[in-house]
Symmetry: C2
Subunit: 111 residues, 2 copies
Amino acid sequence: MNYGRELLKGSTDTLLLSLISRQPMYGYQIIKELAARSQGYFKFKEGTLYPALHRMERGGLVKAQWRRLPNGQERRYYSITAKGQKVLETKRAEWQGFATAVNLIMSPRPT
Amino acid sequence: MNYGRELLKGSTDTLLLSLISRQPMYGYQIIKELAARSQGYFKFKEGTLYPALHRMERGGLVKAQWRRLPNGQERRYYSITAKGQKVLETKRAEWQGFATAVNLIMSPRPT
DNA sequence: CCAGAATACCTAGCTATGCTATATATCAAA
DNA sequence: TTTGATATATAGCATAGCTAGGTATTCTGG
């Protein structure tokens, strides 16, 4: 992505599920929303986003539905499933634990 | 590792540099220290640690030195270089930015 | 004294996943 | 009509953590 390089690994799904859990969204919209909500920090690449969505669809975490706009445009909307909700809870907790542990190392209390 | 699975990617070097910057350490000690300081959260595998140390040595971020103990044991002590210090500063900032951005997505302010 | 645990280091190969680059198609604006 | 934005998709690459194996020494309990 261009932050720490690999920092994103492992949190991609959590970020996507977090967004989708608020309301169904389509891919392009997700990219824009992630950028907006993170104040420009996240700039998801298509080669990251779509494979991730497909993975999660295969895994039953999200389900997809094509919708055609009046003008003919096609969009694939993703919504979270019950299973996806559960995974999201788990991953949220994992993130909390991980971030806490990293901060313990990076900002240690006096030995 | 077994947290988020891949969460660690991208923060390994930062964690290692953080530790080593406080004082020179050898590999086995680093594993123990990471576990202790993170209250048991981090359990670095050797297949993660040693390749990472070697990478950073090649990259000039750390330098290594063998030391023989009175009892004959051999340990390879790693210390941080000037270059490693600079990289650490950068990576610390990257982590801050990343964690902040993730939290913005995971705990969004009301739309 | 001996077995097993702990200490201490190393690496080949696997796997997961983010990124690059490319492809396709529609629509609006200059 | 050409450019940029919208919208989705994927093959192939690179990176890096993990598995599982190896070597060698020292400490500890029975």
